[in-house]
């Protein structure tokens, strides 16, 4: 039985006012990372390294509450700008347009973001406005969450933690000065080869309401949830770490159909409150499974890369590498919350 909100306690958050969290977060962000980030509009953050003439501008963005996604991935070698929405809500067209203008270096702009109805509508409106200003915009939406729709409906799937790899590949491609066509193609290719699935063990709550947005009874978990505290595709008993890794990898490997000897990049991601200890315990099994499948693990990242505030749970992402993607994943980048090379 679901309890009504009146019966539940309010969650504890270290904030000043639920209505000011985004502005205040961005104030603190800019204060912390002056060498990496600049704010060109109240909700538009660009890389301090600035646009480069002839380089494709990469604009990412979406709702807040997923930090370090998206603002943490703005920087040289990765995204050029991020448009910042309210908690779990797409940014409106204005800050997206401001980002497009700021990063346009004459070679076009790529909008790259997770596939959610709200984001698609707002980014599309911004793209229409940018076109009026003669900025060429292409759009790629990420759809890495294998749990969110059957493979036949791949383009209905939502984008979750796999953004990390897809943004990385597209950012590296644009940093290498590839033309807009190529950066767009690479982003689609990266998305097609990136697969994520997650489980949740604890809910999160919005700063404005401070009510857990769902309940997970003792000893249960949500399977195939998103990154907004949405309920999962199914409920089930809380499994062991190994069984969770198996559940996820069975599903991902079945879709990915890798050949022995293929290389993968791995992300074991915390949804928020699940600590590194548990993520590494998951990674232990991930590694054993990939070894058993004859796959070579080229690189592994473990940590809170795409979160839903304080939600408990974890996701596992595999990117199926090839000659195109591997050098892009290895390409150096320098962001406020993420570095390679």
């Amino acid at each position: 039985m679901r309890r009504s909100w009146e019966e539940t306690v309010q969650t504890s958050k270290i904030i000043n006012s639920g209505d000011r969290v985004i502005e205040e977060m961005l104030d603190g962000l800019l204060a912390a990372h002056p060498r990496h980030l600049r704010r060109i509009a109240p909700r538009a953050i660009v890389a301090a390294s600035g646009p480069r003439p002839g380089k494709v501008g990469l604009v990412i963005g979406g709702g807040s509450g997923h930090e370090p996604t998206f603002v943490g991935f703005v920087g040289r070698g990765l995204a050029d700008a991020a448009a910042v929405g309210n908690v779990f809500a797409s940014p409106p067209p204005d800050p997206i347009l401001a980002c497009a203008r700021a990063v346009s270096g004459g070679a076009g702009v790529l909008f790259l973001y997770g596939n959610y109805a709200g984001d698609v509508m707002n980014f599309d409106m911004a793209a229409e406005m940018a076109a009026l200003e003669e900025i060429e915009v292409r759009t790629v939406v990420t759809t890495d969450d294998v749990a969110s729709a059957p493979i036949a409906d791949r383009d209905k799937r939502r984008g979750v933690a796999g953004n990390f790899f897809i943004f990385k590949a597209a950012g590296a491609a644009s940093d290498r000065m590839l033309p807009l066509d190529a950066v767009e193609r690479i982003a689609r290719h990266a998305n097609a080869r990136t697969h994520t699935m997650g489980v949740a063990t604890a809910p999160c709550s919005l700063p404005q309401t401070r009510r857990a947005n769902f309940e997970i009874p003792e000893g249960e978990m949500e399977i195939g949830l998103g990154i907004h505290g949405e309920p999962g595709i199914a409920k089930g008993p809380l499994l062991s770490a190994d069984a969770i890794a198996d559940l996820i990898l069975d599903r991902i490997l079945e879709e990915m159909q890798p050949a022995r000897g293929d290389r993968v990049a791995v992300l074991v991601n915390s949804l928020g409150s699940t600590p590194l200890m548990e993520l590494y315990i998951l990674n232990r099994r991930v590694r054993a499974r990939l070894d058993a499948a004859g796959l070579e693990v080229h690189a592994t990242w473990v940590g809170p890369y795409c979160t839903a505030m304080e939600m408990g749970g974890a996701s596992i992402t595999l990117m199926h590498l090839d000659e195109t993607l591997q050098p892009l994943i290895d390409h150096p980048c320098d962001c406020a919350m993420f570095r390679v090379g």
Partner: protein, 214 residues
């Protein structure tokens, strides 16, 4: 019996109040099948509209101007799904109201189908998708039917509100096809769509507002 810019602003203000009262209820509904923010988003959006109109020079504005200002304020305050959907609805209404210094209740009622079409256009949705359209589209049809039959604007709005409420209630039985809830599939059945619930409240506020009911 006619609505000027100030009356429309009053309606928006009443809508903002209704959203504030319904905030937690709408968030709870969204928590079951979405991301628990719909009430917050609607409060933010209508709050921004109210604030923008409070600063505007209503004497110098037409109803169309008010609807246009509402569209911009709503969109930029919220983003999300509701932002573009409601902004498009308000812009379509503004276009239809263009050139009129005031609107009769019948002219207001005639905005409803147009607004529903705007939402359907922007969100590429249809009836039965388990979204706010399941309130907006029946409301628009009910209003249009009353007006076509020669009924009053006030009656058209009352019928629209009833149709919206019935439409919202009917979403409980639907399997979602659009928006966040779509991923839940059958798990969402049995729960009312939050966007449809808020739409029914908004249309009810409009229908019962003294400016159209008097």
């Amino acid at each position: 019996m006619v609505l000027g810019a100030r009356d429309l602003a009053d309606v928006f203000s009443a809508m903002a109040e209704a959203m504030a009262s319904a905030r937690d209820h709408l968030c709870e509904l969204d928590g079951v099948i979405g991301d628990a923010d719909h009430g917050v988003t609607m409060v933010l959006g209508f709050g921004a509209v109210r604030a923008a109109l409070a600063e505007a020079d209503l004497e110098a504005m037409s109803p169309s101007d008010v609807l246009g200002a509402a569209a911009r304020a709503f969109l930029n305050a919220v983003g999300a799904s509701s932002g573009p959907l409601y902004a498009t609805a308000f812009l379509r209404a503004a276009a239809q109201a263009k050139g009129k210094a005031s609107l009769t209740a019948a002219e207001v009622a005639a905005l409803l189908p147009v607004m529903g079409e705007g939402i359907a256009f922007r969100g590429k949705g249809a009836r039965g998708d388990k979204t706010m359209l399941d309130a907006w589209l029946p409301a628009g049809e009910a209003a249009a039917a009353v007006l076509a039959a020669g009924g009053s604007g006030a009656e058209a709005l009352q019928k629209a509100a009833i149709a919206a409420e019935a439409g919202a209630a009917a979403t409980a039985a639907m399997t979602p096809r659009l928006g966040r809830a779509a991923r839940l599939g059958a798990r969402a059945v049995g729960h009312v769509d939050p966007g449809a619930a808020s739409a029914a409240i908004l249309i009810r506020v409009l229908a019962d507002h003294p400016a159209v009911a008097r």
